[in-house]
Amino acid sequence: MSSRALVMARIRRALADVPRTEAPSEVAVERTYLRRHGDRTPAETADLLAENLADYRAVVHRTDAAALPALIARLLTARNATTVVVPPGLPADWLSATEVRRVPDTAELTPHDLDAVSSVVTGCAVAIAETGTVVLDASPDQGRRRITLVPDHHICVIGVPVQVVDSVPEALERLDPSRPQTWISGPSATSDIELDRVEGVHGPRTLEVVLVTAANPPAEDAVFLTSRPHQAS
């Protein structure tokens, strides 16, 4: 008997108490838990995202589409970056203001090549406010998983409000399971030494997240951005 057949036979014997006619769907699963924890305006959701990202030591920036290229250029310069990996589908204008040498994400790029690169700039698939998470799904504006792993500095751009959801259930609804995903909540960290949290073990030690609002945000949204609740006294 193959091991597959053996294990299957063991399972069926073990489940002798389960009526043969019972369908899996007959075992009740009550999904009475919340789809999201609280009602927020899109601006409040973006604020919560920023707050939770920062809480886990991501560096958060907020800007609009027009100012994005200059911001990215400034962030790369501040790191003294000499090279930046570019996913194949990254919007061309994002890097239009920087002179830093571009390294295209190609199949030939080895882990050693990537280790010599300063930074990487990507978009994202979705961001989760309640947990301070950005999700990458290897779409053309994000590239292969390895490019956001080996370089020590990752700049991740999130479109606000379109790419931001409140909760984990809302994020899963948007994601395609057939694509490889990386959920990122702050930079790499460990608590293995006396439970002291240390940022930066093997993944990028610096994660910078840029929340980009549409070029001409509605007036009330712009007002809200300048008076974030936790800053008001």
Partner: protein, 492 residues
């Protein structure tokens, strides 16, 4: 392996270990309570988590077949291992077929359970552990003592000494003048492991979840060593217990909320990777999934013990357990320490050995483990059930075959069991602190569980401990136990 009480006594007399453990468990316990309190619907998430697992377990054959089809369709290859030896053989052959002699490993309970590193070493293949704590354990030629933080029994000075003395033998040496600052130690590990990651051709992992519907595997981690092992090598081999399957991708919405908060007390862990088979030009070109039984079907056959297979290995039960805190993880003699180990190990391995027979007694039955468990495993209920099996024997599944276990009366197993009970009862602080905890965490109870879980959750407030019968048993056997360990009463 010595039976639980003997091993526990060795570690309770090691004050360094006890201080490290106490600090760690108390810290994480408090943080966890805060992270859980952030979610108003924790109880409902917990009930849903338990129900999803129950659905899966009651129809495990169905979901495994579905999983196998989906993984295969996505370009992966599925292997079945009835026991540890077979799993080790499969992995060894897969590694050999690549022509490589080294693998990088993501922390995985399943591979520890089967002793994979040892089996690979016998075949001339070196397995490098890449999780920081596992690295500390491996370099220190030590054993893990906690599910989540396996080197929790080591403090920073000990870790510095291990790195300084041992790193050179495994690869890049520790930097000169390494201090014991956690950031410096993490940096030393980063440098030491980076060359391994960049050159790795074969990665070995476990998985936290496997999605039957889509064939997706999920690994939850913090450091990025998981991402390295899952994405850089050409070949990825994942060894996963058959109980880790969940029906749908949507089900992850429950577990990705329960696990990080319950485990590391975070809203979300730094990195979660999901992959479905293979993807062109992104990640490994070959993906092998080794589905592991190794006693799980025996646990499945036990309608009381089955619930242990819901476990998502968050380690919350360890951190609240007064017995674990005193005894340390090594005393449990398996990859699974603490309350979950006390009910899982005797089911996976049977209750025939002294150690395994003593494990169900390594508890004060305070119920704190049940209170914190994110999938509502009634650990005290299973402990009592297994005690009964040890003492009275009865029908059980052994390696997939129905058998009748003989009562352990008069056997070494029963004596070991009694000594474990004596150990737990002779540590009054163990009992007291456990009871305090239980009342503090009562609010995390789900009111009731839907579906088949309902029967046992309906009438339950705290887990009911049949104190009479236990005391009877205690009185009856007391006279033959080894001397009391009274010297421990005064230790804080």
């Amino acid at each position: 392996m010595p039976a639980f009480p003997k091993a526990a006594d060795t570690s309770t007399h090691n004050t360094q270990l006890r201080a490290n453990l106490r600090h760690a468990t108390h810290t994480i316990r408090a943080k966890r309570a805060t992270a859980v309190a952030e979610l108003d619907d924790w109880g409902r998430l917990r009930a849903a988590g338990a129900a999803i697992k129950d659905r899966t377990l009651r129809h495990l054959d169905h979901y495994l077949e579905q999983l196998e089809r989906a993984v295969t369709a996505a370009g992966g290859q599925v292997h079945w291992a009835a026991d540890a030896d077979e799993a080790n053989r499969i992995v060894t052959e897969l590694v050999r077929a690549t022509g490589e002699r080294e693998v990088v490993k993501v922390k995985s309970m399943a591979t520890q359970e089967i002793g994979l590193n040892h089996a690979l070493a016998e075949a001339g293949i070196t397995a490098y552990e890449t999780d920081l704590a596992e690295l500390i354990v491996q370099l220190g030629d030590d054993l893990p003592s906690h599910i989540l933080v396996p080197a929790i029994h080591r403090n920073r000075a000990e870790i510095r000494d291990i790195f300084t003395a041992k790193m050179a033998r495994w690869g890049r040496p520790a930097p000169d003048g390494l201090t014991d600052a956690p950031a410096d130690l993490a940096e030393a590990a980063r440098l030491h492991l980076r060359e391994k990651f960049l050159n790795a051709k074969v990665g070995v992992s476990g998985a936290n979840f496997m999605v039957a519907e889509t064939g997706t595997l999920v690994v939850v981690e913090s450091e990025g060593n998981g991402r390295m092992c899952l994405t850089l090598p050409d070949t990825l081999i994942s060894v996963v217990g058959i109980e880790k399957v969940v029906p749908t991708f949507q089900d992850l919405e429950v577990f990705l909320q329960l696990l990080p908060r319950s485990s590391t007390a975070e809203r979300m862990n730094p990195y979660t990777s999901t992959w479905t088979g293979t993807t062109d030009d992104d990640g490994p070109r070959a993906f092998h999934l080794v589905l592991l039984d190794n006693g799980r079907t025996d646990a499945l056959a036990d309608t009381v013990g089955r619930q242990a297979l819901r476990c998502i290995r968050c380690s919350a039960c360890l951190n609240v357990c007064p017995v674990y805190e005193r005894a340390g993880g090594h005393a449990y003699g398996s990859a699974y320490p603490g309350p979950i180990g006390a009910i899982l190990t005797p089911q996976l391995r049977g209750t025939q050995s002294e150690l395994d027979a003593s494990l169900p007694y390594a508890s004060s039955l305070c119920g704190a483990c049940y209170e914190v468990c994110p999938v509502a495993i009634d650990i005290p209920e299973v402990l009592l059930h297994l005690r009964e099996r040890v003492v009275e024997g009865g029908p059980a599944s052994v390696r997939g075959t129905r058998a009748v276990i003989k009562p352990a009366k008069g056997h070494a197993a029963e004596r070991a069991a009694m000594r474990a009970a004596s150990w737990a009862l002779d540590h009054p602080r163990v009992l007291r602190s456990g009871q305090r905890l239980a009342s503090r965490t009562r609010r995390f109870h789900p009111r009731r569980l839907p579906g088949p879980g309902r029967a046992w959750s309906d009438s339950r407030e705290l887990p009911t401990v049949p104190a009479e019968s236990f005391r009877d048993w205690w009185q009856r056997t007391r006279t033959t136990t080894t001397p009391r360990h009274g010297d421990d009463r005064n230790t804080p």
